[in-house]
């Protein structure tokens, strides 16, 4: 029997090739999105679940005046371990610096975490080589990730081999980890014992009972009560914390919640993706039902005849289930291929590092089985509805091919769905246009300086000997000054795309009440000149003016001048809170965008950073971009004379600025992709319904044609109802789109207005697409020979 079903199913699907293709492709794209969303949700829900002791792992949060944060003072962990026997063990996990690791002439620098020897007793990270129990017991030991080990040693087992750290110390490789799960909060390449940190004077200075920068994890004993332990912590604060920090409250929080406090939007992401998957499933199911019903209509006679010759309800249902099952299974197969080879890589490209997705059939089979069962349910529903509908028809009519009855009861649901689908599509189209305009606006905006013809050399080359490097650096600077192609240059810690938020509080000397929170930047000689930032008054820093150093010269921007309430600023004195130094304003720049356009230009102060030195970046303005390669060759040759670990590289500032919008570009691409999916599903939905209507009205179309209707009349007849619905969708979507568009754009301090044409375009695109979809079927209906449609009687 099943073979018979299958045979008929294949023949029927082949007969309706076009619809089968649309059905399968629409479903495949929809299901692929569902696969990715479910996978994403599953990865999120199983975040950090690889740890065997997950239920007993807690981390300590500090709460001051505001929200609690995930850091504590460094000595806390040792004190807790001493005071509270209910704690089995604990570990820090610190980032401090990324040391250079060398093996047989190959040097690498990778994200490094400093952890205690008990780290692997608290957390579970499977080892590829080595023993977790002993791996970090020795101070001079290092555990590598699979990737880093591969990078440094190739395919051998490196346990027992020695690497040189920062050119001086020998560390034994004691372990290589298996690949870290993508959904682990902790992602690192190198682990070293915290004992090494205490050798660092800078670290020792900060590791007191005041500075809150350490991450403290504890593993409770099986029978320990975290609430009771937490209740004891105020006593510890009182006994040990410095007076200024005694107001702090310590909280014990389950490690399960770590990801939620690190990423406040995480829960929203999970709910969002599950909801989106459910919504998508609902839409593709309804679309499938509609298209299947449309395809089933001409089979009323077949179903009736089957019933006449003795087919039971179940047998008819089985036939329809086989067909929809076949479609759904092919679609599912395609969707997994589409997801594996396109969606997941694209998604990963657009996502940040720690949200990477992967499909691993060994471990992800529960998710894939879930999707498979969802698909089977969809197939079941999509087969049942048309079969039941056909079986409801009067057999005597159906045998004669009379199918005047239309499934009217679903009309409202269908209409609401079309409106919903199109409203969503219009809003997304609007979002895509808005976002694109904003990106264009930001990329083309006047930044208040001249970004063209500026080369950015990365001169932070991890020198083995800073003094030797600086000496060679000075030679290089002199060469640059003599180079006729170089207009100006500056050696700086910052560029407009590598700007670090750093604030300080300043006040006019003698007026402590007028404290202003100012962005603070270490100012470099010739920075304003090289970037051609216009000066409102005064002058740039100069090494030729010894007074700059003696006077503690600062340059402020226009906003800062206004904030201090000054009309002119050169010569005015400033002081920093809790600092006796008196600064002198030597220049005022016009406001310029010291970073991208997301934020408003705020008061900014550049403090003279001392004589020209070899800093992180060398910005060089050249007379002509064509000179860049030759200049790079020269500089590269000179920098090779320095004791550098890295080699010199350069970019163009204008390119860097364009690239700095990459995350927004990615977001735009994501929105565009979602928009495309929304449009496709909306089209698939309307296509199915138009087909249904065209088939239900075949006879009427024939009569009208005989009576003189032309193709236009028929298109209007079949399509006008749908276009009205699309019109309604646009009416709903535009105001909602306007509001959400405003909200989106307000996120940017400087933004383009929402142009009227964006709304017109979004509406036109929706109407155009709907018209195209509707016309296709309407024209088919209109071109049908009326003799044939009337013969269907």
């Amino acid at each position: 029997m099943f073979r018979n079903y299958l045979k008929i199913a294949v023949r029927n699907l082949w007969k309706n090739r076009l619809f089968t293709t649309i059905n399968v492709l629409g479903l495949a794209i929809g299901l692929a999105c569902v696969v990715v969303l479910v996978l994403f949700a599953q990865k999120c829900l199983t975040w950090d679940t690889q740890h065997a002791n997950l239920d007993r792992i807690y981390y300590v949060q500090t709460k001051g005046d505001g929200k609690p944060y995930n850091q504590t003072v460094y000595p806390l962990l040792d004190q807790m371990l001493r005071d509270y026997p209910e704690i089995e063990t604990g570990t820090h996990e610190q980032t401090w610096n990324y040391p250079w690791i060398e093996y047989k002439g190959k040097s690498i620098q990778e994200p490094t975490d400093y952890v205690d020897s008990t780290f692997f007793r608290v957390f579970t990270f499977p080892f590829k080589y080595g023993n977790p129990a002993t791996a970090l017991q020795n101070k001079r030991s290092v555990v590598l990730s699979e990737k880093t080990a591969q990078n440094l040693f190739g395919n051998i087992n490196p346990v027992g081999k020695y690497v040189t750290v920062n050119d001086t110390l020998q560390y034994a490789v004691t372990g290589v980890l298996e690949k870290l799960p993508a959904n682990s909060s902790q992602q690192f390449e190198v682990l070293m014992p915290t004992a090494n940190l205490l050798d660092n004077p800078g670290f020792r200075e900060n590791a007191d009972w005041y500075n809150t920068f350490a991450t403290t994890f504890i593993l409770l004993k099986d029978d320990a009560d975290p609430a009771r332990l937490e209740a004891k912590l105020p006593q510890l604060v009182k006994a040990h914390y410095k007076d200024e920090a005694k107001k702090s409250t310590l909280l014990l929080t389950p490690f399960k919640n770590f990801i939620y406090s690190e990423n406040p939007s995480f829960q929203g992401l999970i709910y969002g993706s599950v909801l989106l998957a459910a919504f998508l499933l609902f839409i593709i199911s309804v679309n499938l039902i509609n298209l299947n019903t449309a395809l089933a209509l001409p089979r009323a006679k077949e179903v009736a005849m089957r019933q006449v010759v003795g087919a039971t309800r179940r047998l008819v249902l089985e036939q329809f289930w086989t067909e929809s099952g076949l479609v759904v299974m092919v679609a599912l197969l395609l969707s997994v291929l589409f997801a594996v080879f396109y969606l997941v890589p694209t998604f990963n490209q657009l996502r940040s590092e720690n949200m990477q997705l992967s499909i691993d059939f060994d471990t992800d089979y529960p998710t894939l089985l879930t999707v498979l069962s969802i698909a089977l349910v969809v197939a079941l529903i999509a087969g049942t509805y048309p079969a039941l509908y056909l079986m409801k028809l009067k057999t005597t009519d159906a045998v004669k091919g009379k199918i005047s009855a239309s499934p009217r009861q679903g009309r409202l649901r269908q209409n609401a769905l079309i409106v919903l689908q199109f409203a969503l599509a219009v809003m997304l189209i609007l979002g895509t246009i808005g976002m694109r305009e904003q990106l264009k606006f930001m990329k083309e905006a006047n930044l208040g300086y001249d970004k063209e013809n500026v080369l950015v050399f990365k001169t932070d080359l991890a020198f083995r000997n800073e003094n030797a490097a600086l000496s060679q650096g000075r030679t290089i600077f002199d060469q640059l000054r003599a180079n006729p192609n170089v207009v100006s240059f500056t050696s700086t810690y910052y560029t407009p795309v590598a700007y670090q938020n750093n604030f300080n509080t300043y006040y006019p000397n003698g007026n402590e009440k007028q404290q202003i929170h100012v962005r603070h930047m270490s100012g470099a000689v010739n920075y304003t000149e090289t970037l051609k930032i216009p000066m409102l008054e005064g002058r740039n820093f100069s090494d030729a003016t010894p007074a700059d150093s003696a006077n503690n010269a600062v340059i402020i921007n226009e906003s800062a001048m206004r904030a201090f309430g000054w009309k002119t600023a050169v010569g005015k004195k400033l002081r920093q809170l809790n600092n006796p130094t008196i600064y002198t304003v030597t220049g005022v720049t016009k406001d310029y965008h010291y970073r991208d356009l997301t934020d408003r230009v705020e008061p900014m102060l550049q403090a003279y950073g001392g004589r020209e030195s070899l800093n992180s970046y060398l910005l060089v303005r050249v007379s002509d971009r064509a000179n860049a390669p030759a200049l790079f060759e020269t500089l590269n040759r000179e920098f090779k004379k320095t004791p550098a670990r890295r080699s010199l590289s350069y970019t163009y500032l204008a390119d860097d600025i364009a690239k700095s919008y990459r995350s927004l570009d990615n977001l735009w691409q994501m929105i565009s992709f979602v928009t495309m999916i929304a449009i496709l599903t909306a089209c698939a939905g309307i296509f199915g319904l138009v087909t249904l209507v065209a088939r239900q009205r075949t006879k009427e179309i024939g009569i009208r044609k005989v009576l003189g209707a032309n193709i236009g009349d028929i298109i209007v007849l079949v399509g006008s109802d749908f276009l009205k619905l699309v019109g309604l969708a646009i009416l709903i979507a535009l105001p909602v789109g306007w509001l959400s568009g405003q909200k989106m754009l307000n996120y940017f301090a400087y933004h383009t207005p929402l142009h009227w044409w964006a709304f017109a375009l979004a509406g036109l695109v929706a109407v155009g697409i709907a018209l195209l979809t509707v016309s296709f079927q309407s024209i088919r209906a209109a071109l049908m020979n009326p003799v044939k449609s009337l013969r269907s009687e």
Binding site: S404, K699, E700, G702, I703, R704, K705, V706, L707, G708, A709, N710, D713, L783, N785, P786, V787, L790, E793
Partner: protein
Amino acid sequence: MIQTINLQKLFATEEVETTALNGINVEIKDGEFVAIMGPSGCGKSTLLNILGLLDNPSEGEYNFYGTPVAKMTERQRAGLRKGSIGFVFQSFNLIDELTVYENVELPLLYLKTPTGERKERVEASLERMGIMHRRNHFPQQLSGGQQQRVAIARAVVAKPRMILADEPTGNLDSKNGEEVMKVLSELNDEGTTIIMVTHSPYDAGFAHRIVNLFDGKVVTENFHV
């Protein structure tokens, strides 16, 4: 006058080719009432569809009031058909979603007849068929005879030169069938050309001439006086 010369119609599928009409020569004068008879599958309806400009012949010529139409596109045929031919079908072919009035009005809408004139003509047509009192009903609320009268009202509302009727009494009882035939005769008396496909010798008796088809060919022509 309409005239066909050596009209042929082939229906071809991948495997078989069927000759529905094979060298049909007929001439129908203005104001004639012609019945086409023959066994099932002899090509009656195919001939009627071609005469009614719903379909093209595969070969041969067809002069429709002096215009050669055999090679016309569907669009051109539709233009010529509009207003000059009325159709009456065995199964009435009324549109279920439209009222009696709206069904009859349809051909005039497609002819872009002005509203006032349209109303006048629809009402006159309904009056004439005696179904004015049913103008706001839907087809399924009417008896078969009444439905066929609506169909005839719709066929004549545009004042066509010719009415093509495909077994107009096939779905009616004898009383209603008789009435429909009387209406067709009256229309013919007023000058409308009528071509009717029928199985019923009784109905054929209303015609001036009977064309008998067999296997796609005209076998005999009988004239009534």
